[in-house]
Subunit: 323 residues, 2 copies
């Protein structure tokens, strides 16, 4: 019998690193995790990761073959296999991730940022199957984006294409501070944290009584605002409305750059469904040039948002083998 | 002796259509033009064009072989060989340009918009030789853009990628009306007409005496403002400064989408050199995310702006033969 071919998908986040052994059809056979933040040195992190991956792999038993490692990480650079100046990881400067991996394996190691990984995942396992031109926007703590152009992930000259989270949404100075050091970046408005900031400002302006006014600013989070909006809280609905409007405005801009067939939204905010999709769609259509109007699909990702990053990362291996 | 291989590059503009017989090295052997606006029917236009092209070709004598027709036209769609809903041409709706051409020829006919054609021209004959990822911005009456991603022109799903001229530069309503029916589009600020509008508003605000205040608003044009700025006219310099700043702000956005190696400026405004490049560069760097800062070249096109469109259009033929 032939061995079953598997790819290992690894999602390196600021708190946890999650990985899974994934088959060509997108089934995660086994998965596990370790605490990213426990490792001050990249060598120690990768060493510990290989140990736990070996233990996890042994749970599947025999009859499989690993084809490579796909890694999604903040500021992951596909050209160099590095992570560069990530603000959320414990390792500073330029981290030679693929190089350190290759002390443990001779298999292909592909590194890119998490949103790019999700875009490849959407193309191989998700709603973008058969599409040649589309965009994936990840709406989590921040905002990430991955562009597929003519069937291939767009990396750009430096390997850093698709950093929409840090496009300024206003030319005039905005006071909303971003983790990148700039002000008024898209992700300070359109993300779980952006929604929360907008909601707190709505609370400040409003004379309407609200249970939220009994909470501290640090206590309020996007999950609470979502639950309140679902129950019909007008101020919470307004926060989603404003967030969706800004997103849609920016998506019109994205369309004018790359003319995609569809834009997929993935991650926590995308789970709010019509609360975010309706104002985003309306606003996108309002700002679109007429040749694009009514043509660009705005869709929820078909990847389970819990597994998207691992699936996406694993799919890098298949997409690498193809080319 | 082998025949010399030539491509015919055709630039269809609202007033004139210019064409040239171009060799692989970018030399225009002969060229001529006809009045686009004289032809109400596309069939008549193409018929007249083939007549004049035959006459022009006979001036070269024998010993050449035509490889195909490359056409740059507003709203040219490469996927379908059509011109779609152009506001500046006499033919309305969807014009089946390649189809009408094929009544006269069996050779390849490639249609795209003028800025895309210029981007291919820059790659084949100009300053982008050897580059895989770059952007060309054409600054004429309007603002056009063409993106090359991983060595190929980006068309997008609909064939209309790269309509930067019609990205809104402000989320809040701007009063500046665009020919596309929207308000606040980039080209209403960054183009020859945009510069002129900005300059007139500066004149209105200023108490400084100026010869321009004796002219009618319709008389003032970008050429005059350029000459005045060159002579040190402070208000004219200010108009270039504001225009360059807005351009640079938008270019930072472009970089966050596609991470290009270089951005080329082409057309009338680009000839103003430091008057436009200096504020554009400063403003782009100001808004760039740190991973991009200091890395993206902002360069004048190396195509002669007079011939760029014809050269670019002809280069579509070579790029088509290659693929």
């Amino acid at each position: 019998m032939l061995n079953k071919k598997l790819a290992i998908g690894i999602d390196i986040g600021g708190t946890n690193t999650v990985f899974g052994f994934v088959d060509r059809e997108g089934n995660i056979l086994v998965e596990d995790r370790l605490k990213t933040a426990s490792f001050q040195k990249i060598e120690d992190f990768v060493g510990a990761l290989f140990k736990i991956m070996a233990a996890t792999g042994s749970r599947i038993g025999k009859g499989f073959e690993i084809m490579g490692y796909g890694i999604g990480a903040p500021m992951g650079n596909i050209h160099k296999g590095t992570i560069e100046y990530s603000a959320s990881l414990p390792w500073k400067g330029i981290v030679p991730l693929a190089e350190v991996f290759h002390r443990h394996t001779e298999l292909p190691v592909i590194v890119t940022n998490d949103a790019n990984a999700s875009a490849v995942g959407e193309m191989i396992y998700g709603g973008a199957r058969g599409m040649r031109d589309f965009v994936v926007i990840t709406l989590g703590t921040g905002l990430g984006s991955g562009f597929v152009v003519d069937g291939k992930l767009m990396y750009g000259h430096d390997g850093f294409a698709g950093e929409l989270g840090h496009t300024p949404i206003r030319p005039e100075p905005s006071e909303r501070e971003c983790g990148c050091g700039k002000k008024g970046c898209l992700e300070t408005y359109v993300s779980a944290t952006g929604l929360t900031k907008t909601f707190i400002k709505i609370l400040a302006d409003s004379r309407q009584p609200s249970e939220f006014k009994k909470l501290s600013i640090d206590e309020i989070n996007a999950e609470m605002i979502f639950r309140a909006a679902k129950k019909g809280d007008k101020l919470a609905i307004k926060a989603f409305h404003i967030t969706g409007k800004i997103l849609g405005y920016k998506l019109a801009d994205v369309v004018s750059h790359t003319s995609p067939e569809a834009i997929f939204l993935l991650g926590g905010l995308a789970l709010a469904e019509e609360l975010i999709f309706k104002p985003a769609k309306e606003s996108m259509e309002e700002y679109l040039l007429s040749i694009y109007k009514g043509k660009v699909k705005l869709l929820p990702s078909k990847l389970n948002s819990k597994n998207a990053a691992v699936l996406g990362a694993s799919s890098l291996v298949w997409s690498d083998l193809k080319s």
